[in-house]
Amino acid sequence: MNMLDIYRRLNQQPLVEELLETNHISQKYGLTLYPVQARDIIQARNQALQDYGRIETDNRIISQIISSFCSSPYLSNENYTNSINELIDIFYFFKNETRDLIADKELLLLMKDLFNDCCCGSLDLLRYRELPSVAAELKQRADGVNNLEREMDNEGRLFR
């Protein structure tokens, strides 16, 4: 029995049906996913996980990405699948970039706000301008806390 195999099997595969269920929401905004597109999105998600060296134990995040962005005025049936694929890639990339310091829900909300507001629907601006500065700020803040803890630790030791 190879436990490492078990580990690799942890990756949860989203089902096409689960993604199609998001149509209940997206159709209110005129967007519809078909099975072939759902499969395309699942493939993009698998590729992103592989590219960024991540495993996923819960597959709800894809449906959440779709549900969050389908209300965006910048998505249309023409760019729907490609945009979702790109957003998935950006999502996992920035989970790594922020060293997992940001929760899924927060990142998703942040991405949605930035995409709809200052990026005016530009995925490039989201990926290359807005999110990097957020990631840098988060890392800086985390390093600051670590340094503070270290200093306190060192001071404590002086008096030990």
């Binding site: 029995m1 190879n2 436990m3 490492l4 078990i6 580990y7 099997r9 942890l10 996980l49 060296g53 991540r54 495993i55 996923e56 134990t57 819960d58 597959n59 709800r60 995040i61 996992y92 989970k95 790594n96 997992d100 929760a103 899924d104 829900k105 270290r150 060192n154």
Partner: protein, 469 residues
Amino acid sequence: MKDGCLDRYEVLKNVPLDPYHYTVSLLQQAEQHGLLEAQLINDIRRQFTFLLKEMITRYSQGKSSSLRIETGERLMLSVLYCMDAYTGSLSGPGEALEIISSRSIEDIYRSGRDISKKQLDECAQLHRKICSELLDIDIIAYHTTINEGIQDFLDNYDIDFAAHDIPGSIDYPLLFDDMKVQGVFYIWRYLKHLELENSFCRLFAIEDIQRLLFNYGQVYQIDCKEALINIFEIVLTNAQFSVLLGKGAAELHITPFHYEHIIRELKDLDREEFKFRLRQAADRLLEELGIKGPLLREYILRFQDVILPRALAARDNDCLDNVVVLERYTDNTPDIIYDTGSSLDNDSFRLLLEEVGECTVPADRIQMIISRIQSLGDFIDILEADCLYDQDYQILFSRLGELELSMLAKIIFIEEIRAEGEHFSLLSSAVQYRFDREWQNQYCLFIQDLDFPWIKAIEARITTSMASR
């Protein structure tokens, strides 16, 4: 548990099980030998997957559905480590398999976690005891390991998510140290052995040990204060040879005159006679020093397997004075090459490590190290910090001169240099030996690629420093 239940596991007695990954290796062997039904194997898999998912959710506090592969692997190794703590505590593979078959995986994990926690508490107690009985010896690694490294471990050990890890820098080398053991069990064993070694050293006058280490530094042209040397081994060796000379076991000083006597005594002995004389000396040492504790007795007797080949080889190469440390009458301070005063403080060192880790250009990484590291101790710490890639080592070593490379050789090949003296061959040692530490293997590869005259120049540095004693 009834014996009958265990009979069917008899076959496991003859299969090799990996003691460092006990549960996985046991399950693999059980599966191969058909000792577990397919349904049970699937159930174990399912339970383990469930437990791991639960750990991942706890780790991310439910805030993230995905995580980096390395993080997930770390969590898995942590779970398996705790399971090993329990299955390894049972009477044997048969009982372990019986328990795995009858109890839930989560239950086994919890029991193992409890055992690891108890072990951690014992480590804290042992540490307090060792701190209260520190040897008054000026060796930096000895004090920083006990006062800082072990303390860091006790403060930062993460039994839930990284039970197999060893936070804290454990630099001081013990005579017997199994570095394949991980996590809290490694530290427990380390402290147990350290306690034994300290208790032995306390049987000697501290001034005698200090003097002995001074002489040792003179022999190897190193500053003992900065060196990664084991005090116990140096003391025990001289004490044992002192007994062999007919002196008292507590007498550590051996003069050149005494040394001539040893040479005469040992020069014509064959291997068995030599072994007998050494063993006889060890027995007398135990008696004279009143060592009754079985653990310390066993530890000292285990050393006989180390000292015999070393002393034999040294005698045959006419350099037994590399094994026995002779009294020196000069008060010359050793030729210190690295200045202890220029060691980086902890924060600067951490900062350097972080910057090296984040830098993506190998040459820049090396430049950071070369430009900021001033002491041998820091240099070794960097090499052992697991922050360099294979190519980095080669670039780094290529930036060193003969002197620095010979210093590293003296650390890596201390045993061989002691045994072979002026006959020591750097190239053949680099080809022949493999080490636990990556940087040492990389050093050997580097040496093998050097031009012959360059190797000879480094060798000359090593042997000249010995000849000039």
